[in-house]
């Protein structure tokens, strides 16, 4: 006999509780949208370093979006997949510079937008380019268009692009760089003038199929594509911000291609999955040690030069990049117009000369300086070697690591007064397809914005203006080399490296990357005989 008491009441008991929570959990699980997992049937599964925020060309904010946009949209020109920044025709069958402010183009007839939005026309080119600078739209990438003015349409397929003033970076940055990808006027208007992660139409070799937030974007072969044949029926682009997670996913067989961290290259060399290979690509990222010349401790150029000579860049690159990267000679990476073959201060430096410079400057040692750095494992390793290098010449360095958001504000005048206090900082950014984008951040006008060194040089500013106003490549090459000479001679910079981007890839895949390491999905091919 069981006596009915409050303790054993049947109204609510353990079973009811468990049954309820289980049902609730299953109901929630059933409500979740999802993805298909690694069904490899002529599919490419690849990691992207972050999720997509927008696939609207003037609003794309990361290279991760550019990777997808390159596969689903067409531009007049696109970059070749030969490891250079050279361009080739894409939607255009003809593209030529008429003069420094005019470019003529003619589209290939018969290229169709998806979703029934018709043929690509010169009017769509006009719409797409002019939309990027539309002041009412306030596009995030408007700056890419430089002094672009308008497009004059000649006929259904031809037109002329007009610039207000010469802008040498127009073709690589605006036209081939993705901001001026061609969208259908009708489609974008139908979407309300702007769209986010679901493009209203595509015209590239792949079509957008779906985007799942924080998960992946799925592309599929465009049946109407009339350009060079593409390899895969589907491409699954996974948003994976954690590089270690992507390494594991590759090892677990869920990815065909993934960027890995530099420190993992040794592991993969020793324990490479049997059907895979490791390839080291350039990253196009510029790493350097910056010195705030307006800070009292660094106002004497001899102190800055002592730091330049004191830092052993070879040791930094060996320790942080495991010898995979090369010391850089300036912000312009190898293979790009304006690259310097060598720097004035050799990578190994010279501690004796550094010490002599400090003595000459009358500095009492040890000199104590603070070094700000982004809280990133690779960069922290680099600054620790710099700390060790400088200790040898009598400079004690205190490292202050900060999260990326905080770090990016330390040299900015609009973010408080801390720009006055920064001394040394380890900085990096990805340049673009043109040397202009590697160097423009150091002009006097950028002081307190991105020029944290407070470097200011009239000749540098003048050369920057001249180099962007001419399309004579030899002249530009000379100007940009000279600009990097000036930077280095100011003592404000110790150039470190342009980094690397190691990728692990299935043997069945022949990948294609831009010189800055971003994937050119449309040019990924199966290895011969594999499909």
């Amino acid at each position: 006999m069981v006596v009915e008491t409050p303790l054993n009441s049947r109204r609510f008991n353990r079973r009811v509780f468990l049954r309820g929570t289980t049902l609730a959990g299953l109901s929630l699980a059933g409500a979740i949208p999802g993805i298909s997992w690694a069904v490899r049937n002529n599919q490419l599964h690849i990691r992207n370093y972050t999720d997509v925020s927008s696939l609207d060309p003037p609003f794309m904010i990361s290279g991760a979006e550019g990777v997808i946009a390159n596969a689903i949209y067409q531009s007049l020109l696109q970059f070749r997949s030969d490891g250079t920044w050279n361009t080739q025709l894409d939607a255009a069958e003809y593209f030529a510079e008429i003069d420094a402010t005019h470019y003529a183009f003619r589209l290939r007839p018969g290229q169709m937008f998806s979703n029934g939005f018709g043929e690509l026309t010169a009017d769509d080119v006009k719409f797409s380019l002019e939309r990027a600078i539309d002041p009412t739209l306030n596009a995030l990438n408007a700056e890419d268009m430089g002094p672009f003015s308008h497009v004059e349409v000649q006929d259904r397929y031809s037109g002329t692009i007009v610039l207000h003033s010469p802008y040498a970076a127009f073709v690589p940055v605006a036209i081939a760089g993705g901001t001026a990808a061609i969208m259908s006027r009708k489609a974008v208007s139908a979407a309300g003038g702007r769209f986010g992660t679901e493009p209203p139409c595509c015209s590239g070799p792949y079509l957008f199929r779906e985007w799942r937030a924080q998960r992946k974007t799925v592309l599929e072969r465009n049946p109407d594509w009339s350009g060079p044949a593409v390899a895969f029926d589907e491409i699954h682009v996974y948003a994976m911000s954690d590089v270690k997670a992507s390494e594991t996913a590759f090892e677990a067989g869920q990815l065909d291609c993934a960027e890995i961290s530099v420190e993992s290259t040794a592991h993969f060399r020793k324990n490479m999955p049997p059907d895979s290979k490791l390839k080291i690509y350039p990253s196009g990222r510029n790493y350097w040690l910056g010195m705030n010349q307006s800070n009292p401790a660094l106002q004497d150029i001899r102190v800055r030069q002592a730091i330049q000579w004191g830092v052993d860049v070879n040791a930094v690159v060996e320790a942080a990049w495991f010898g995979l990267a090369q010391p850089s000679t300036g912000p312009v990476p190898a293979g790009m117009l304006g690259h310097r073959p060598s720097s004035h201060v050799p990578p190994a430096g010279d501690p004796a000369r550094a010490k002599a410079l400090l003595v000459e400057a009358g500095i009492s040692l040890p000199l104590r300086l603070r070094l700000d750095v982004n809280n990133d494992a690779l960069e922290l390793t680099a600054v620790q070697v710099i700390q060790w290098s400088l200790k040898k010449i009598g400079i004690e360095v205190d490292i202050r690591a900060q999260d990326n958001g905080t770090f990016l504000s330390i040299g900015r005048e609009d973010a408080g007064d801390q720009w006055q206090d920064i001394q040394l900082f380890f900085q990096s950014f990805v340049g673009g397809a043109d040397p202009y984008y590697s160097l423009v951040w150091f002009v006097s006008e950028q002081m307190g914005r991105w020029n944290w060194e407070r470097f200011s040089n009239e000749e540098f500013d003048l050369l920057n203006d001249k180099a962007i106003a001419t399309t004579v490549q030899v002249e530009r090459d000379t100007f940009y080399r000279r600009m990097q000479d000036i930077m280095e001679d100011s003592g404000c910079y110790r150039f470190v490296t342009n980094g690397v981007m190691p990728q692990i890839i299935r043997n069945t895949i022949q990948p294609a990357f831009q010189p800055d390491g971003y994937a050119l999905l449309r040019d990924f091919q199966p290895t011969k005989g594999e499909v």
Binding site: R14, I32, W37, A213
Partner: protein, 316 residues
């Protein structure tokens, strides 16, 4: 009971508002702005000003907070200026993944931990009790990220039993469950030991109480006494702890979502903080806090339902 629930709900609302206000202030005190972080050098002063205006960041903090609550009252969490998507939509898209993960982890831990603890108490000082004790301490002591990594390496990379990333196919419960196993294990394994220890201790206390002796004197079977009389009381502290444990699990979920590349509110929040995407951060924080407060409320109510002394004590 109704009065108790109303009183608790009111308190939960106050806690929610307080937590969100505090977090609002903290988030806005962080240095850095979204335009500079996401656009880098492209973030011209004009563009930054325009973005700040669209995000309402050009207004005083109190005005921003008032606007946030005014919009919230209308069910609007703002718009992500970069993707141009409503934050509410973004958050609601991700929240179920986290809830499922947390419930799976805590549910799994309870399903294993409670019987283990109960059995250990009944057979205390037996070999199994000692074994459970050692295992429990080991599970509690090993950080969940270590467990997660080893699970990944063994079960996913080496044996390929379970996927290493993602959340599974929509509408396919089996596939979703396969994707849930490793993250839920990583998140919940430590709790198995914790719950087992807690239940064991409570059970040992309860088994010594008068009403159990009375039940034995009535000749009730040992099974009935344990299940209907002892465990019901012994599980009360565990229910409270599980409610609070949801908070810990939500923090752990962030880690699991990153390691297993699983969508979820933690990942959304993490990226929002890194990029200073304030509307997304606030939306995620609000929803996460609401979920935590709700879980605490539910655990309080369950406690009150299981033990009248709780609600009676509260009333008096």
């Amino acid at each position: 009971m109704l009065e108790y629930v109303i009183r608790r709900s009111g308190l939960a609302l106050v806690i929610l508002l307080l937590a969100v206000t505090l977090l609002f202030a903290m988030i806005h005190m962080m240095p850095g702005d979204p335009a500079s972080i996401l656009l880098g050098p492209k973030a011209s002063p004009e563009l930054k000003a325009a973005l700040n205006q669209r995000m309402g960041l050009d207004q005083p903090l109190l005005v921003q907070l008032a606007r946030f609550y005014a919009d919230l009252a209308q069910g609007d969490l703002g718009t992500d200026v970069f993707s141009n998507r409503p934050v509410l939509e973004m958050v609601l898209e991700q929240l179920p993944y986290t809830i499922v993960l947390v419930l799976a982890a805590i549910g799994g831990a309870s399903l294993v931990g409670i019987p283990l603890g109960c059995y250990s108490a009944i057979r205390h000082n037996s070999l199994l009790d000692r074994l459970v004790g050692v295992m429990s301490v080991a599970f509690i002591a090993i950080p969940s990220f270590v467990i997660a990594l080893y699970l990944l390496l063994l079960l996913s990379v080496k044996w390929r039993w379970f996927p290493a990333m993602g959340a599974g196919d929509s509408g396919d419960i089996v596939d979703q469950a396969r994707h849930l196993v490793l993250p839920a294990l990583a998140l919940g394994l430590g709790w198995v030991g914790y719950i087992a220890r807690l239940v064991r201790t409570s059970m040992l206390e309860v088994m010594e109480e008068n009403h159990i002796r009375t039940a034995r004197a009535f000749g009730l079977s040992e099974r009935t006494i344990i299940v209907h009389y002892a465990l019901r009381i012994a599980v009360l502290p565990t229910v409270t702890i599980l409610g609070l444990g949801i908070g810990t699990m939500l923090s752990g979920a962030l880690f699991a979502e990153i390691v297993f590349s699983r969508p979820g509110i933690g990942k959304l929040l993490h990226e929002g903080v890194l990029t200073r995407n304030y509307p997304v951060v606030m939306g995620s924080v609000l929803m996460t806090t609401a979920f935590f407060v709700l879980c605490t409320l539910i655990s309080d109510v369950i406690n009150a339902m299981l033990d009248p002394r709780v609600r009676d004590g509260e009333s008096s």
